[in-house]
């Protein structure tokens, strides 16, 4: 399946876009999404190890499955406040 992944902060700046599209298997997990991002958008590579994924506005663990049509966001280390 194809997934759009929302990008923020340095990831958005690096990709020069607020989202990227990736191709993953139908039963992809969060870890699979991160791997696909690394392979299909290598410019994000150095940031990815420190990033978390959020699905439908909730942080997910690496083994969490990604439902089709969900909103996936790449969350770099946060720095609010």
């Amino acid at each position: 399946m194809q997934l759009d992944v929302l990008l923020f902060a340095a990831a958005r700046q690096t990709a020069n876009s607020d989202h990227v599209t990736i191709e993953v298997g139908d039963n992809a997990t969060a870890a699979d999404v991160l791997q696909a991002l690394s392979q299909q958008h290598p410019q994000l590579g150095s940031l990815l190890p420190s990033c978390r994924l959020a699905v439908d506005c909730t942080y997910v663990d690496s083994e969490n499955p990604i439902p089709p049509d969900s909103e996936v966001a790449l969350i770099p280390p946060v720095s609010g406040g």
Binding site: L6, A73, G81
Partner: protein, 149 residues
């Protein structure tokens, strides 16, 4: 999530703190406390001209609501207010305001520190430094950065 004890806002304009003060009022409270985070001019040797904040707004709003609800439970608070500004925040202006009320002062003192520390780890908001030399840099703390960001 909606809760009459919680006020969470992400705003793109200066935070009007004086308009928030009544939101922590409670007849059973013996303590009201506020933390105001302001844009600092210096980080080590570097001099900041302005900070710009970006958020995943729906998720940040949800995380702030969860944080406020958790703080009420953890510290037996009556009211919690969290307002975070995004967009450009010039040096000296408030980027975040947190307020709460409790029966006695220890809970309010502890809650303000806990809310800010948790916000800085969990809520998807990011700052970008723009230095006076014209360079810019997104701030993405690593664990080694500790609580200094």
């Amino acid at each position: 999530m909606t809760d009459i004890n919680i006020c969470v806002q992400i705003v793109e304009t200066p935070i009007q703190w004086d308009q928030l003060t009544d939101k922590v009022a409670d007849p059973n409270a013996g303590a009201q406390g506020w933390f105001v985070g302001v844009t600092r001019r210096t980080t080590g040797p570097r001099v900041t001209e302005t900070l710009a904040y970006e958020a995943h707004i729906p998720m940040a709003t949800r995380e702030l609501e969860k944080l406020a609800a958790a703080a009420i439970k953890k510290f037996s608070l009556f009211q919690v207010v969290i307002v975070h500004r995004i967009g450009e925040v010039p040096v000296g202006e408030a980027s975040v305001v947190v307020g709460c009320s409790s029966g006695h002062r220890p809970e309010t003192f502890e809650a303000l520190a806990w809310i800010m520390n948790t916000l800085k780890k969990e809520v998807p908001i990011w700052k970008r430094e723009q230095y006076v030399d014209g360079s810019t840099e997104w701030v993405h703390p690593t664990p080694a950065d500790g609580e200094q960001a």
